[in-house]
Symmetry: D2
């Protein structure tokens, strides 16, 4: 495990909510992070699909950690704001949130993210949510 993955992995392990949602860190690269979450009834809205809040939680963390891979040494990342469009009902056996840095400055990063829903066993997916987020770098 390289340094980038370790930095992100240590912080991810400390996020109680990610454990509560059953999410795990799937991939860490410079400027791009993926988080996976198997579906379960504990994540649902009233029709039994994944709640917008479940979906948003993993793509917020994915965008935040993507930003962390581009943060100045010794900095942490906090979410300033995000906006999410929900493209279709979040139906799937598992979800993968992909967060990417579009632009990183000295004090902030702008990220885009998407959440992919995998219905079957294969690699076919549909994008169920689209995020555009602002992350701030703060001295830790």
């Amino acid at each position: 495990m390289d340094e980038l993955h370790e930095r992100v992995g240590r912080s991810f392990a400390a996020q109680g909510l990610m454990q509560t949602l059953g999410a795990r860190l799937a991939r860490v690269a410079a400027g791009e992070v993926e988080i996976e979450m198997p579906f379960g009834a504990a994540l649902s809205q009233q029709h039994g699909y994944a709640h917008a809040g479940s979906v948003t939680s993993i793509v917020d963390s994915a965008c935040g950690y993507a930003a962390l891979t581009r943060a100045p040494a010794g900095s942490e990342v906090v979410t300033v704001e995000f906006k999410v469009n929900f493209l279709r009902p979040a139906i799937g056996r598992r979800f993968l949130a992909v967060g990417r840095v579009v632009n990183a400055g000295r004090t902030m990063a702008v990220c885009t993210g998407e959440v992919r829903a995998f219905v079957g066993e294969g690699e076919d997916y549909k994008v169920v949510a689209l995020m555009q987020a602002t992350m701030a770098f703060v001295q830790s």
Copy 2:
């Protein structure tokens, strides 16, 4: 319990995520709904504060249910999109999400929401998150 509260309460009880987060329906009025969530480590981000995803989940539900109180008979509400600003670290013993309808048309409602953090035992709070959301009415 009046009809409005019953309609919202039935749907709320079916949201697995709300139970997972320990949230409960606190108040239902025409065009305004409140959801309460005691803080716990299961909701945290890496510093032990409430995760942006926890906070967003309850204010999304609060805005969605506020819209439901204004929905045409026989309609359900789905979240089209939302945007959330995080004003300060979500530190508190408990959180209260307040969702309000600003404008309801035939097919959509625009809502604003806020999440209040109560640190002590009293009624003093700080607003930690601000939402602006679009909800759609769909035939159920």
Copy 3:
């Protein structure tokens, strides 16, 4: 004209776009600024109503200047991002954008804004647009 109004007014006068749109500074108070724009065909979209861009331009400036009234001495304001909901067609003889600071920190302010459309001669209006914005304070 007090110091606040002067600070905002000087900057407003330097915004070429505000002149192009025929907008004028209507009110400056601590944490709240209003900008007025009479309607004209030069501001229209394809149906002859005010274009979302015209409406957004004045409420962005209103929010930015509201933030400026709360900025540290010697700071300027830049728009980090905003989100706007358009509640109904922007039909009116004149429009008034109202920008308000919800929360101001050391480096950023979160603002909300609305654009009011006045159809007749009187003071009755309808809100046509709702903004939630993040403004940054930068050393000038």
Copy 4:
């Protein structure tokens, strides 16, 4: 000029604001539209750069027209809402807004857009703004 370009071009020509801003339709393809705007002092904010409102106006139109290329026959497009991040000062000799449809349903489309700033004579550009928008299809 094909039918798609004609449909969009006719509507664009009726947008008074696009003429006021000196914008022109640069490219129309299925699901993607580009609008160009040479910089001028009439578009500026207080430092002489392009105002966030100028930049937003062209990328809103680009996203709206991208949606129109995917709209059901006989439908018009209205902007439900958008969110824009401003990545850097909008400095350039000319700007190109690119709007793309990410997902189109029966009643709505979700689009992403960017505004590119060209400083020199060549084709090098920097992205100055990023949009995520919801467009509605309405019967005309």
